[in-house]
């Protein structure tokens, strides 16, 4: 038969073991929460950094895209065409170092005919230069666009590269943060659990009843 002391001892031991288990569980849970918080903090820090980098890349892209809008392109084409035609007309209009040998004593009619033919020839040359300038505008425009896109791509590659690198490093940072945030168990819970088990064993062994009888 169990004595009252044994029953009390058994109950006390069970309670002690329960409290120890609860403390252990609580400490483990707290630890898990700290580790999860540390991982999340690293994740958030990287996301914050990458958000800024993404914003930089987006701004560069948006700027380039705006330059490709129909209005901007039309304006650019017009400027390119004018510049190219201007260059070519300047070249076409350049007077030669030597002129055609028409003597000043040539009859008025001959001089007038020469001037007329020369004028017509130069008009055709100017027209040719203008048409060539207009034709060249397409390639020039394409070249300028490709160049600007390549340059924008180069600029974008920097924040994108940094963001990729940050993302690649994240798992390692998280692991290290987790290790850094984890705390060892205090041992109180385990101690109480062990004491409870010992108490329970002692209460159940009947030694306490024997002592009480003595």
């Amino acid at each position: 038969m169990c004595t009252g002391v044994e029953i009390a001892m058994a109950l006390g031991s069970a309670a002690l073991s329960g409290v120890g288990s609860a403390i252990n569980q609580r400490e483990q849970q707290k630890n898990n929460e700290r580790m999860a918080a540390a991982r999340n903090a690293e994740l958030e820090q990287t996301r914050q950094k990458n958000r800024q980098l993404s914003q930089q890349a987006t701004e560069i892209f948006d700027q380039r895209l705006a330059q490709m809008s129909p209005e901007q392109q039309q304006q650019q084409s017009s400027q390119t065409e004018n510049a190219r035609i201007g260059e070519l007309l300047t070249a076409a209009n350049e007077a030669p170092a030597v002129d055609t040998p028409v003597s000043g004593s040539a009859p008025q009619l001959v001089q007038a005919e020469n001037a007329k033919r020369l004028g017509e020839a130069l008009t055709r040359s100017k027209s040719n230069a203008t048409r060539l300038g207009t034709l060249g505008m397409y390639n020039q425009n394409m070249f300028d666009n490709n160049l600007a896109t390549a340059q924008a791509g180069q600029k974008i590659s920097v924040p994108v590269g940094f963001a990729q690198s940050n993302a690649q490093m994240l798992p390692y940072y998280q692991d290290l943060a987790e290790i850094s945030a984890s705390k060892p168990m205090s041992g109180i819970g385990s101690l109480l659990q062990a004491a409870g088990q010992v108490g329970g064993y002692y209460a159940g062994s009947g030694k306490m009843g024997a002592k009480a009888k003595v």
């Binding site: 030669p96 009859p107 020469n114 230069a129 020039q140 070249f143 590269g161 850094s180």
Partner: protein
């Protein structure tokens, strides 16, 4: 566990701090390296490409002028030989020669613009290659030396072909006439009638005993 835990925590924290510092430094080196590349390539600006275009034009323009001068001389001789120098035919031929000159100058200017674009594309390619290298190495000191070397290589001279005979087509009918006249049994051009004017015996002379 109780005793060792604190030590590993500190080691992990230190390792994380070091890794972050190294990554931040690497990214800073990339930014700095790009700055070095941009600085080295700063000489390749609009002025550089404009000068290149002008140099291109200046290389071909004198050749063209020289050809034009010779063509005018040849045409003048051919027209004068036929008595057409001061005629509507002569005026038309001279005007066409001048038109060819103006068109060729236009072409050279156009090619100069395209050549400048081509050079710019090559320079940009070199710059992009260096950007990639910079990101791979993240070593601004090394990339600085490479950028300087690479930018210098773009300044190396390039071989250019000489201008072909651009007035040939304008002169060819008259030159064909001259050749046909020369080969004719009854040539009409004075220099084909018996060699040079001096050799033909025409002009003034005096025989003394």
């Amino acid at each position: 566990m109780c005793l060792g835990g604190g030590g590993s925590n500190k080691a992990a924290a230190r390792q994380a701090a070091e890794a972050k510092a190294e990554e931040a430094a690497r990214q800073a080196r990339i930014v700095q390296g790009r700055g070095n590349i941009d600085q080295a390539f700063g000489q390749y600006n609009d002025n550089f490409y404009n000068k290149y275009k002008d140099d291109y034009t200046n290389y071909y323009a004198p050749q063209l002028e020289d050809q034009y001068k010779r063509s005018v001389d040849e045409l003048t001789a051919a027209l004068a030989g036929r008595g057409l120098l001061e005629s509507s035919v002569g005026a038309e031929q001279m005007a066409r020669l001048r038109e060819t000159l103006a068109n060729q100058k236009t072409n050279i200017a156009n090619q100069g613009l395209d050549a400048a674009n081509s050079l710019r594309a090559k320079v940009e390619q070199g710059k992009n290659d260096l950007y990639s290298l910079n990101e791979a190495s993240a070593d601004p000191a090394g990339i600085n030396a490479r950028a300087a070397a690479s930018s210098a290589s773009f300044a190396a001279p390039q071989a250019y072909s000489e201008l072909g005979n651009v007035f040939a087509s304008t002169l060819s009918p008259l030159l064909a006439y001259q050749t046909a006249d020369q080969n004719s049994l009854n040539p009409r051009l004075p220099w084909n009638t018996g060699g040079s004017v001096l050799a033909s015996g025409k002009g003034q002379g005096r025989v003394t005993n």
